[in-house]
Every structure is written in C-alpha cells, then in structure tokens.
C-alpha cells in the first residue's frame, strides 16, 4: 500500500483513499451546444498514460476531501500533491519523466530487475 500525504490530515495509508481518475477535466458548461461526439468525450473518455499522470484522490475514510496528485503510473511514485484550488504544477518540473523511445520510464517499472 502506498503512503499518500493528504493535504489536510497528513500521511495516511492508501486504504483510506479512493482514486478519482484523471484531474482537470472540467464539466462543460454549454453542453447544449456540444454534439454527441464532443459530449461523449467528456462523459466516457479519460487518459490512461504510462508515466506522469495528473489525477484526483479523495480521502474517503478520513476527512472526505478531494485533492490532486501527480503520479508516475509505472512506478506508483506520487511526485506532487496539491489542493483543488492550488496551481497545477508543470510537467517539466519533474525529473523522472519519460525518457525512453517507447515512452517507458527507465527505472523500476517492475518489468526488469537488472540494471542495464
């Protein structure tokens, strides 16, 4: 279980949280004027990258507050946590970004054990 640093309660075990999927997907205000395809994009589609991902978490079994996180989905490292109303950190501020040609992170994805 990973350790998640809730901005309100401090470091807690992952079992207290629920993952809220991709962050910064705003609900369209003018949905009437959107066609089915664009509306469907909001309802049904979310990114699922291997590597740096901006996502939401909620402290379901704690303070029940939502916050955002930047996580490397290949290594499960949480690189930054920020509140809903705080500024979104820029992706190039993280050193552990995608470097290999296929986009896979180099270290510790669990698929190889020997240092190359």
């Amino acid at each position: 279980m990973i350790l998640i640093n809730c901005p309100y309660c401090g470091e807690r075990d992952q079992s207290e949280f629920s993952n809220g999927g991709e962050a910064h997907v705003a609900r369209p205000e003018n949905s009437d004027s959107l066609n089915d395809k664009d509306w469907g994009q909001y309802v049904f589609y979310r990114d699922n990258p291997k590597g740096i991902f901006y996502e939401r978490w909620v402290h379901s079994h704690g303070c029940r507050k939502w916050f955002n996180a930047v996580r490397n989905t290949a290594t499960d490292e949480i690189l930054k946590i920020y509140k809903v109303d705080e500024k979104t950190p820029k992706i190039d501020s993280f050193t552990n970004t995608l470097k290999t040609p296929s986009g896979e992170p180099k270290v510790g994805s669990g698929n190889f054990t020997v240092k190359k």
Partner: protein, 996 residues
Amino acid sequence: MSALDNKKSSYIKKNKKVSFTFDGKKYYGYKGDTIASALLRNNVRLIARSFKYHRPRGIYTCGIEEPNAIVQILNEHNEPNARATVKQIYEGMKVDSQNRWPSLNLDIGSINNLLSPMFSAGFYYKTFMGPKGFWKKIYEPIIRRTAGLGKPPKEFRSKSIHQNHNVDIVIVGAGLSGLIAARKLIDTEYDVLLLEQDSFLGGVLKNSNKVEQINNQEVNKWIKETERLIKISTNIKILKNSLVTSYNFTNHLIALEDKFAGKAIDTSKSELTLHKIRTTHTILANGHIERFISFRNNDLPGVMLASSFEKYIHRYGVIPETNPVIFTNNSTTVTLLKSLVDLGHKPVAYVDARDKNKIGKKLLTYLKKNNIPFYFNAEIEGCDGNKKVETISIRKNKNKIIKVKSSMLCVSGGINPDIHLFTQSKGLVKWDDKLITFKPDVPFQNTITIGSVSGNYNYEKTHDEINNKLSFLKPKNIEMKIKINDTNNFNIKELWETRHEKKSNWSKSFIDLHNDVTTKDLKQAVVEGFDRIEHLKRFTTNSMGTDQGKISSINSLGIVSKILKKEISEVGTTTYRPPYAPLSFSAIAGRNTYEFYDPQRKTPIHNWHINNKAIFEDVGQWKRPWYFKEHDSETMHQAVQRESKQTRQTAGILDGSTLGKIEIKGKDALEFMNLMYTNPFTKMKPMTSRYALMLGEDGMIKDDGIVCKFNDKHFIATTTSGGAPKVLADMEEYLQTEWPHLQVYVNSITEQFTTFNISGPKSRDIMSKVFTEVDFSNENFPFMTFKVFNYKGTEARIMRASFTGELGYEIYITPNHGLELWKRIFHHGNVFDLVPYGTETMHLLRAEKGYVVIGQETDGTVTPIDLNFNWMIGKKKKDFIGKRSLTRSDTAREDRKQLVGIVPLDKSEFIEEGQHVVERERLPNPIKTPVEYLGHVSSSYHSPNLNHCIAMAMIKGGNKLMGKKLFISSSYGTKNIAVEVVSPVFIDPENKRLTS
C-alpha cells in the same frame, strides 16, 4: 557412517527430549530441533518423493531454501508443504512425508521415472490432447488425484491476527550485520524494529565458527549482551520467529510471525501474526544463500549443501556423516573442513574445482597436514546408490574418474546475496564478475543493504561498511573488533554443471529440485525457441516451486547464458515476487473471517426483530428483516403473502432506518438540488416532499429518493440503503471539485434518525392514536407533505408518503426513542391487526403498484425515459447532471428497453425474475440461429391481492406493445410461458388509496 552428536550446540536444549512420529514411526529429538535435524540425528535419510518423477529425496539444506524435505504436519490444520528444515518439533508432533503412495520407500509414482522422456519440459502443452472425451473422463480425474503436493486441511479453523507497526527504521535480519546496526541505534531518536526469522539471534554467527571472537569475547557472549542491551533500550523492539515475506512500496513490509514455533498449537490463541510494517528506512541485513552445482544424480538423498552441513553441526549438534565428500568451487568451505577436523573426523575427499593458485597455500598445507585426500581442478561426475548416496565419482582430470564411497556429499557452488526483498522493493541488481553473482545496486526506495546481502563477504570489513552506510542516521559509536576464522579473501571459479557420463534413463542432472527440472530440459526449451528468461521459466517451471529456486535459479541463468552465448547480465533475472516463502491464507485473512468478514450494521430496533422471529437479509452491510415468521413452521412464501395481504387490508409497518438521509443547507442549496437531481425544485412549496431521481453524467439512473424541502436554503434528501454513501460522496465531489462557488454544506444524518414506514387503510387511525397532537386529516396533512413537531423533547418528523401505494406515513425519530415508539405503535395498532413486514413484502407491494427499485429495474443502463419518468424531469431547467446525455443518439432511440408490466395468460403459471422475453412459443430443436432477445423480467411476485403472478419487465420498444402477446423463456423444458404486456400498475391505477 551414522550421525554423531556434537557436544556443543547453540539451539538445542539437551535436557529436554521430545518425541515425534514420521510416517507413523516414533523418533526422539531435543527441544530446539527441527524435523530435519531430528531425523538426521536418527539417521533417517529418505524424506520425500520428488514432484514429477517421484525420485527418492533427502534433506538438502538447513533453512527456508529447502527444495526437497517438504512434509505434512498432521494436526488440526493438516499443514501441507512445511519445510522440515525450518519447522521445529514439539512433543507428540505427527509428521508425514508427501507425494508418495503407498509408502515413501515403495512409491508407485516412481514409475514416472521410466516414462521420463514423456515428461520433458513443457509436456503438458503437448500431451493429453485426445482422443475426444478422454480429458474429462480419464486424464483430468487421474491428474487431479496424483498432482499437487500435500493434502489440504478439511476445515478452516486456524486463527491469525494482523499487527500494524509504524516505525522509523526496520532492520531485516539479526545476524552479525543486523545486530551491529541495531546496537548502534540503541537510544537514538529512531523507533526501530528488528526482525529475525529464527528463534535465536545471531544468524551466521551461530551457523559456523567463521567468526571466532568479537571484542575478545566468545561470540555467543557478544550476542547475549547485545540482546540484553536492545531489550532494555527505549526505542528498539525485536520480533523473533518473524520472516519478512514482502517488501512493498512505499517502504511497507509484511512479516509472518509463527507464535507456536516449537510448540503444539493452542486453538484458543492466534497461531500466526501477520505484521504490517510502515517504515521510513529499511536496512536489509538478510544475508546470503548458498547455491548448488548440477551433476549426474545431484538429487540423491545424501547430497547436501556444504554450509547447511556446517549449520547442522554448529546449531543442532548433529554431524550427519563423519566422513563425507566435500565438493566446492569457492573458498567458503574451508570452515566446514576445519569444523570436521576439529571434531576428530575427516572427509573421504575434498574436491575443489579451482586450480592450485586460487586454493592457496594455507589450505593446501592444512589438507596435507591432516592427511585428507584432495583433488584440485576436479569435479564430481556424479553419484550412485539405491535411494541414497553410496558411490561418488570424482573426475580427477580430463577423463580420469575415480570412485569413492561415502553416504554424504557436501556441495558448494558459491553463495548468492539474498536479493529477493531488494528486488521486490523495485531495486535494481547488477552482476558482479568477481563474486559471480548478482548484487544489489540501485535502490528504488529508502533501502540500505549491509553485510553479505550487499556482496560484502568479509566479516572484518562489516563494521566499516555499516558505519559508512548508516552515517546519515548519526548512530552511536561502538567497539567492534572482529576476529575471523576464515579467509577474508573470497574467491570462486565459475561452475554451473559438471560433465557427466550418460548412464541410464534414471541418470539426471537437476537444475530445479523442487519441480524436477533437469539441465537437459533447459537446453531443450532453448532449442524449442524459448530464449527469453521469463518464457523459459514458465515453459520449464524452473524456479516456480514453493522454494522459488532459491538454491538454483542463478545457476539456471548461468547455464542459459552459456547456451545463448550471452552475458548473464544480458540474460537478466525473472521478477522476484512476494511472498518470499509460502504464506498461509489464515495469516492473510487475519480476523476478517466468518462473522467478522465485513462490518455488520444493525438498526436501533434490531433486537425487537430477533425476538419477533424475523429472518434477515443482507442489504450492503445492513441486516434487514426479510420477512417475519408468525410461527416456526411458516414458510417464506406464506409469510410474505400474509404480510402483503394484511398491509392492504388494514396496516403494516416496516423498519426503514437503513435508508440514507442527507441534510443539505446553504445560500445556494436550491441551485445545488436542481443540478444534482432531475426534478425541478424551484416552485416546490416548503414543507412538501417529492420523489426525486439522480442520474449519472451518462444519463443513466444512479439513485432515487424523496426530497423534503424546508425552504429554498434547507433540504433533506433520502437515498436507497445501499446507495447512501455513494450519493453523499458524489455530492461532496461536485461541491468540492466542480462547483466550489456554491455555498452549500451537506451532512449525512442516516444514523441520527430511526425511520418507520407505516402503510395501509388503517394507518391514519393508528397514527392519530399514537401522535394525538397531530391532525392527520387529508385536508391538513395532504399526500407528499411533512410536519416537524416535538416528541418527548426531541424533534420528530412525519412525512406522508408510501412505497406501497397505500395510505402511509414515514416517521423520523431519534434512535434513543426508537424502540419505545415502535412498541407504542403496536400497542395502538394491535386492535387493527397491524403486522410487521420485511423487505420481501416491501418489494412485492411496490411491484403491485409498478414502482421501480434501483438495482432491480435499473442496472446502470436505464434512463428515466425508459421508465416513463418524463414527468420527473424539469424541462425548463438549464442544466442538471445527466441532462445532455438524455438526448444522445443512443438514449433517444425508440427501440430502447422500456418498463412494462406482464401477466401470464394462464393465471396459474409463475414467471421467474431474470428470464428472457421472446416472440416464439417454442424454441427450435436444434437451435441453429440465435433466438431474438426482446427483453428481460426485472421483478416478479405472486400477488396475494390479485391472486396471480405479476411481473415487471424491460422490453425493447415496450411502450408500443401494450396488449401484445409475448412469451417468457422457461427454465424447464422448451415450452415458453405465454404472457400479455400490460401497464406495470396492477393495483389502484388512479391512486385513490394513496391520496385518500
């Protein structure tokens, strides 16, 4: 030669004799003995039959890496696959060998050996294919009976607990390195947990005499002193008999503690503790494991790892054989040699694969001085014997082979740092050409490795290494003068397999003893195209046994790299997966079993239900009365029919406390409610109630409930019992992440009120008698309104609404008054034959009125329009969750499944929930093309009020099918049930009873 006793042993209590049985025969050992050490003490060599070939096997090691001596403990749990080399004996213990029939000595399974060409690598992918029918009738039953290792327990009765820890530093392993690290951290600011898998501290210090003295003291004295200091420290805790099996992210470790090591299980206590440890730093001091060498018949009982033989001497005081042959390719076996000589014995031969220069003058002199026959640049060609080692063939030089006689052969192929935990933590390892093994290299987490696990085999340098690696913790300075008995210069010659002469079908050179994988299998697999190590592992099952190939997996990489002509670092390793050693399900479950499996929720009047013969059903975590038995022999069907009939005749009452209740308040509460639900709330009058729907953004119904409006800034909404937590969570999600500009707060008040639902023609009379100060007349208390009033100093609420279609009320009262009020209602209701009813009757009654149940008529794919709920949608509302999705091309289709009622044409027939609606009376036989599926039956009951079956169904284009005759596919036979499509409202379609 039989096993002798070594007078000095550190693990055994010589004055405590223990008796146990093995395969029915009684033996004696001492307290502290493992099954293996005790059997060796009694000269028992044959312990098991191997997995595939049923070859005779003996004790190969002295620890958790054991691949052969796997036994069954016969007790309450019938523990299978226990390692005889780890499991301690206790008085009366019953042990059985595994995988043999009828006996260990005479095992019919050994016929597999003759058929072995058939059982080469990957044979199960190539055999048992035909003829047709043979798999189910012949192959599968036979394989099931013969496959597997050990017998499972008949009943699950084991008790285990979980213990959580939060510390700053974990030290894995209390050997020399671990103890030094611990001692340096005594009384520092860190909370430290020291974990040791054994019953004793000391590790390698107890396994041999490699370390002669510490600080001019005897080693045991130093260990004892260290343990004493740690015990009186304020910040360090020791856990013995605790094996770390998983190292997860983020610095979370799982350790398994055996609370009954060396004792018979007391079933009233927990026998295993699963320690779940969160730490900031992990110090891995978990040592190394010796590896073997492959040669012809390297699996015969009598072949044992050299350092394990040494462990038996020093730990348990058993010399399994006074004159063994020692075969090595490295410098670690010197101390084994010396231990034997010091005890007055000598090996029959010392066979070293290295050349003279590597062996060194000191050892050569020692061998000559003690008259020990030795051979360098030599190797073992193979060994022979009947179910045990008798003759050992030594290849002196290129082609000269000499034979010697001995009952034991000690083998050392080198040592590997135990990198399992390090790689589990996602650390990367690196191949070391000098040590010829993998070493930890780049850690992924706060992991430090010290001692032999980090590749440091020189005990004299251990203290410096630890000082270096732990300096950032600012630990204490301690005196550590280590005097070793060993060479401090480790050297090794690469040797994975020796050259052997093919003798017979029976001659095999093994690379994995547990799963019976031979080196020939590896070669064959590569030939067949499996040249990637992950594929190779699975195709051959190499290292996939319960020992995970601890003494052999690196060897297999060595062999494969030679075949592929690649560097070992290129070949790589397979991923080491937790657990490190077999972990019982009992430990994983802890106390979360049986009645504790999931928290149970009960309403405030739960005991009344029990006393009145309620049968319960689970609704989420809640226990709800399903139906009430009037007398012990009443069936469920009878009870439900009775409850339903009585409720419509006079009155019935249901405990509705489980339904969710949410309080919503704030300046923008009205706007919020309009956004969350489909209904328009703007023109809704204060103190009235409305049945409301909540959709997902995809337009599908998620939950329903009743909304009570106090005023535009204050609402209370109810939800379904199961949906309450999700509705509250969704509300908070939207308020926090989507509409933070709305000033609204929501609080759950589900537990703060007990709720009773009373309905029936006489319910008004009963209520008037109970709440004398409230005017229940139709004019003053119309349908879908609510009142708040004082009840015994508390604030109570009554809403006029019902889910049954009868005149009815919902009462909300604080839980401390729940039981008293419920009883009072019955006191006044008895004269009207008021009947308590459960969830089944509730479902039946609402079905008679065509009311839907979320999760029954809906399944996440149903829109409000599908249910003819257009009237609940606020058309003038600019926006609400799901609004846009109601006009998607998919949700606007005319042929969507729509809610209708169905009744059988033959009133004596009964329709089952879940059955399909079709157009055909009979299904063709055989069915060549799919039968068109028109819909399904979502609810079905026998109505006591109408005396026939009524059902609700979701049928494609159902709205246009009123009056049509269709069929319901039947479970039995092929004739379908003829039905007619009708309105789903079966009783009182004008709602006269409801609004009377």
